[in-house]
Assembly symmetry: C2
Homo-oligomer: 412 residues x 2
């Protein structure tokens, strides 16, 4: 069987490498005599590259070649990836992608196109890199009603937070180290502002709850404002700060979905997910909590997930696979202000005792947190579980304190 | 579509419950108008049970009914489960089972029978209860060469060890508590002697490395000899004691596979797997370490895995699934004495200083462990990585010490 790769960056070249390293085995598993890469599409030149002979710059060569049954899209970005993938599906070619931006923005359209053309559109690598998670959700947990999905979905920010927690490093120093190690890009915005994790929680919640969730509909907050002081308070509380993407089924036609830093209790599998590792937790009515853990990024892990999808396509060339979802609807994702949560609050107060009394009566059951060598005028506490808008309302009624930080608390 | 359930114990009745609770959804996912249970086979009577009308005692009714396309085997034990399952497969019915004893002993035969009859033999629930693990290994990790698989595969023993570690409870008290909670059976032998975990590592290694591994070929050691003193030394070493099943590919035609208590370093996902939870770690050449975590037993979690397999069968009634393995061969699993490992040793010595010197020169790089309020004459240390037979040889040459315990060390 012949395949083509579009985009010869980190993941695309990894796909070529995994296939070449393991060719006989992969073909056997796929039930094919062989699996060969016929074209690699990239606008750049790769002189001296082992695959130089396969390089092309003209997409129509792939589109018009009936030998090509499966196309791997590892270009990234929305355009022209969306147009290329659409054309391939319409031509009756299955497509495998690692492009989370594409799936989060256009998944419902491409799933429908694949259905209409009786081919596969698979994207296991778009969430959790090499960790098997989308197919297990679609298949193994099929007998469950999934009620929640949550996870550490971005390795870069998890590395930065781990350095802050374990090494007492500032955010800036940890970001610098992540860049030096190749974990963070020169422009780290998509990672540190939570956009990457946001796209992934869109894909996960679309799959878990059956309807497309668009990135623009969910609240995304990154880790740029997390301070070492907050990290210390989390420790004193008995946990750690992690960037958590999460979504929850509220009713048949409502879900919540957001990304933000969150306090996670020690002992949880998410709390012990460190460095560049990812973990995805799925909560089902029958199975309880299931967690998938592993390297959420990196050339070979991600490439191995892409190649597993290619094998799946080879095994079921004309069979639509069992994961997909319907189009999205307006108002499906509720505003984050309407979501119930407990919140960690750090504030400054000139008169600490009076402020505490005030907080105590405003938030019934507020839990104060003390840490060593805290600022003299600092107060830290955890609110009871309330709608965010209600927490805001109560906080603004507490005239005598200056809010320094607010971090949500999760129960995963 | 009609199905039959053989065995109406905990898992079997859970399967009926999951199907009834979620019928419309399950049928939709399975691509069927409905999925209905037509017969439940059990020798016992269940007067007043919601499914009383479906109960039968005669297996041939299931076998001879062409409406029954999928049979669920949740009887447990080898006989007559093996005969019943074989007959169903030969009659062209797919079979789904949660019976690890059956899969570990007869998996290769039943996989072959299913192939020959162009039906499915699926057993996701036989390892890790409701945790998706076998299908992800077979499908999602298909592009990897799996080099090792390891895990906490038995919830009962993990609960007991957690009580010993966290609550300082003796083995006997913890076992009693597990029985009181319904986590351990009256006769707990299969759990505490490591047989249950042993069967599961057989299934996992068969799948990961492609050749059947029989329970009688692997070394199984349970947790009955783990003492609170050892638990404390593990803490001092920076870890915990867990019952770990593990297997490793040594060459194209050799693997190692065993079950025993082991020291696991804190920070590892296996170390933070507590209570009745299970975790399975798979190490692949491309993906690195992937961990699957969740409830490894229990009525509804296990039943949900069985029902997911039923759905899969309904989707691909006549299609052989992509997980399976070949027959086993003699000498495939090497003797545990030939496996390299580091070992924790606790011993008694009348002359501690002399003994330490002796150990130091016999085991180059031995690492001594000190703990608070240790017995005056007690020595504890970790050997370098050596073949077990070599460790034994060196130990027996140390005439002056009395070995009290030996526990392997793993690097997961």
């Amino acid at each position: 069987m012949y395949i083509a790769i579009m985009g010869y960056g980190t993941v695309g070249s990894g796909v070529a490498e995994v296939i070449m390293n393991n060719q006989a085995n992969i073909a056997k598993t796929a039930g094919q005599e062989s699996i060969d890469i016929k074209y690699i599409l990239d606008l750049r030149d790769f002189p001296g590259d082992v695959n130089e002979k396969l390089m092309i710059k003209d997409f129509s060569k792939i589109l018009e070649d009936d030998d090509i049954k499966v196309v791997v899209e590892t270009m990234g970005g929305l355009h022209p990836a969306f147009e290329f993938v659409s054309s391939c599906l319409q031509k009756g070619k299955s497509v495998v992608t690692s492009n989370k931006e594409l799936v989060a923005a256009k998944g419902d359209i491409l799933i429908k196109l694949a259905e209409e053309n009786n081919v596969n559109f698979l994207f296991e690598a778009s969430v959790g890199g090499g960790i098997p998670v989308l197919r297990p959700i679609g298949q193994c947990l099929a007998a469950n009603r999934i009620t929640e999905v949550a996870g550490i979905l971005n390795g870069t920010t998890n590395f930065i937070l781990t350095m802050m927690i374990d090494k007492n490093m500032s955010f800036e120093d940890a970001l610098k180290l992540a860049q030096d190690n190749g974990y963070a890009e020169k422009d780290p915005t998509a990672d540190i502002e939570g956009h990457d994790a946001g796209r992934k929680i869109c894909i996960l919640s679309s799959l878990c709850f059956g309807k497309h969730v668009f990135p623009e509909d969910i609240y995304m907050q990154g880790i740029t404002k997390v301070s070492l002081t907050d990290v210390e308070y989390a420790k004193a509380w008995g946990g750690v700060i992690k960037l958590i993407g999460r979504a929850k089924k509220l009713s048949d036609d409502k879900i919540s979905a957001l990304v933000s830093p969150a306090f996670v209790k020690n002992g949880s599998q998410l709390a012990s997910t460190n460095d560049v590792f990812n973990a995805i937790l799925v909560r089902g009515d029958a199975v309880g909590d299931v967690v998938f853990y592993g390297r959420g990024a990196g050339k070979l892990p991600t490439a191995s997930a892409v190649v597993a999808d290619v094998i799946d396509c080879a095994q079921h060339l004309e069979k639509r696979k069992d994961y997909g979802w319907e189009s999205g609807t307006t108002g499906y994702v509720v505003d984050y202000n309407e979501i119930e949560t407990a919140m960690f609050i750090r504030a400054k107060a000139d008169n600490k005792d009076a402020a505490k009394e005030c907080i105590d009566s405003a938030f019934e059951g507020a839990q104060f947190i003390e840490k060593e060598s805290a600022d003299e005028n600092e107060i830290a506490f955890v609110t009871p579980v309330l709608k965010e808008c209600k927490i805001e309302e109560v906080l603004s009624s507490l005239g005598s304190i200056d809010i320094l930080s607010k971090i949500r608390i999760v129960d995963y």
